[in-house]
Symmetry: C2
Subunit: 304 residues, 2 copies
Amino acid sequence: MNLEPVLDLNAYLKERKQWIDGAIDRYLPSEEASPQDLFKAMRYSLFAGGKRIRPILCLAAAEAVGRQGRPDSLFPVACALEYIHTYSLIHDDLPAMDNDDYRRGKPTSHKVFGEALAILAGDALLTEAFQLMTRRDLQTDYAPENLLRVIAEIAAAAGSFGMVGGQVDDVQAEGKPGNLDTLHRIHTRKTGAMIVVSLRSGAILAGGTEEDLQALTNYGHKIGLVFQIADDILNIEGDSALLGKNTGSDAARGKMTFPLFMGLENSRQKALSLVEEALGDLEVFDDRAAPLRLLARYFVERKF
Amino acid sequence: MNLEPVLDLNAYLKERKQWIDGAIDRYLPSEEASPQDLFKAMRYSLFAGGKRIRPILCLAAAEAVGRQGRPDSLFPVACALEYIHTYSLIHDDLPAMDNDDYRRGKPTSHKVFGEALAILAGDALLTEAFQLMTRRDLQTDYAPENLLRVIAEIAAAAGSFGMVGGQVDDVQAEGKPGNLDTLHRIHTRKTGAMIVVSLRSGAILAGGTEEDLQALTNYGHKIGLVFQIADDILNIEGDSALLGKNTGSDAARGKMTFPLFMGLENSRQKALSLVEEALGDLEVFDDRAAPLRLLARYFVERKF
């Protein structure tokens, strides 16, 4: 008889989202600070409905390698990941890039604040992310060497060989014939790298072994892809109201997607088999990896 | 009879510019790396004729507090300052901001590579700056705590209360009646903060005392202002060929400048008296601060 309490993933996600929302609210200067419009723009995008996936992966990875309880001391790093993600969305939405007027059903930053402020709010969020990761109080819990390693890995994942490089590839691929390899490469850089480093950073700070880090890296690559495939599928058959954007927009734009190259059913099967493989990667961990296991399934089953 | 060799500032600047140029060239991936256009754009702006003032201030401050010889181990941090400066120029020049087609006589990044790539090259440079500062080899020479402190201070100077905040103020001030106080506040954030932190970062890593850091901070605030006043004066009466841009452009745009509020002659006097005050701040240092002393005068006498 298994007496272990069954983990309620929704409650788990909700609680962590609240932790992260609260931490971001504390870290951000009030909207009265100067320049007011800059802080308004930063806050607007940080609180525009993000699910806090990257911070939650960071905390869940720390938990998997043995960090118990509410890990307040990890919050600055977890939030830094969300700052970087948010800056990338603001810049991706700009007229010179994807030219999106809405995201998650809300007007994008440049529609609300103008292009100049949107660019600068993105710049500020990226910069503040690094300031968060160098807060003095982090050094009471973590070795400076480990903090430097985490900052180095996050910068690498966010930079020209990671997220920014992937966005360049994405922008340049538009309107050109592509294939599954191109698509795979773009996503590995554009979203995969930050998902992997979200997991690694939590595990590094929580004292994970190199074996733990490798397992999380393998898991992260797979769920990053699952996340993207699910996104592509939702864009075809999801609920516009839940998604906060029109379905069918990828096809209308001629965007490369997994269903375009593999068909809808094969894309679904691919996502499901990646989830199974990702669960295999987690076999080195005990029950403390339960949230990561449920998250893998959640990524393929999510509705928005 | 003073047998001490007189420092030749031009030779000093030239040598350090070569060190920095060489280091940047080594740190940057080759233009064959993928995405090629991104690395081309990063390299283009990094080698568009910058004088390497911030890296040189970093090295000179380390020298003032006692660091002798060619300080190779400081190069990653010195170059990171130049990366951040360069990213800020690329983003400032964008159509949504100052909309400049030329800088130092060369077409700006978005004119050469398009707006999307210019935004992304700026993003990549800012991100890579933090990667440079977390290179493993830095830890053989510097305590991790000091590296974290330097990263924290540089992020603060570059962020929403520093350079980015100053740029927001600058963008928002355009076309509005301003005064000397507004102008002062904009420059303190927009250029002053990075100049001060360039000096502080070199001194922190070279083992400067808190007294040293305070003296350099005071000196930096003043020469930052001197640099800006000189810029404003050059825009009125400089040599367009040497400057690589048309003189009179500030006035044509209705930009706030020191000469606009104080007149040309008072601006010149203000710069000269700030230089004297800055030299006073350096009195805590011995002859090893000679380069910083000459630099203060150079800032007011420069022709481009």
